[in-house]
Symmetry: C2
Subunit: 105 residues, 2 copies
């Protein structure tokens, strides 16, 4: 249902980096920002976008905010792609079979 914002969120390379960092498990903003080529506020803004896209969740832990990956957004994108999968793949292989490898680009 929110695959639209999820795509937009994952389109930016830096924001993907932020997202991928969370693969190592939940982390506070400061830790995520450390070692990144952009400022901490920039990371905060990226996290906000990711959160609105349902790709991450945050929880307060003292003065820190710990972010973790939210499977919800991932699931939305996955569903969107799967919607194409059979449909498009059928049409594609049908095309390929029709003119059996006379084209390759």
């Amino acid at each position: 249902m929110a695959y639209q914002s999820a795509f937009a969120a994952l389109a930016d390379p830096m924001r993907r980096s932020v997202f991928e960092r969370l693969m190592d498990g939940p982390q506070p903003v400061g830790r995520i920002a450390r070692g990144m080529p952009v400022s901490r506020p920039a990371v905060s803004q990226h996290l906000k976008v990711l959160k609105e896209a349902g790709l991450v969740t945050d929880r307060a832990e003292g003065t820190r905010r710990v972010y973790s990956i939210d499977p919800q957004g991932l699931a939305a994108v996955r569903r969107y792609l799967d919607q194409f999968w059979t449909e498009a793949l059928d049409a594609f292989t049908a095309e390929v079979e029709k003119d059996e490898g006379e084209r390759n680009a």
Copy 2:
């Protein structure tokens, strides 16, 4: 391997519309553009981006160019997401179980 450009390509709503139109099967540019709120050159530009992202392929048919969905780009995005799937989902459910529903957003 080209999930990067695929995400960027699918981030734009209008470009997604172009892409989704191909679900009805391979179509020439003119047919795709007809009924769309943007000009035909705009559609051409979108198709170029989609092509470079490995999401569509084109073949010449007389003076027309017929575009179809290319599963290759879809597969790349799918693999990228799956890479998170287990990893992130494990971490997530682990977190959820740890503080068993005391937080909800």
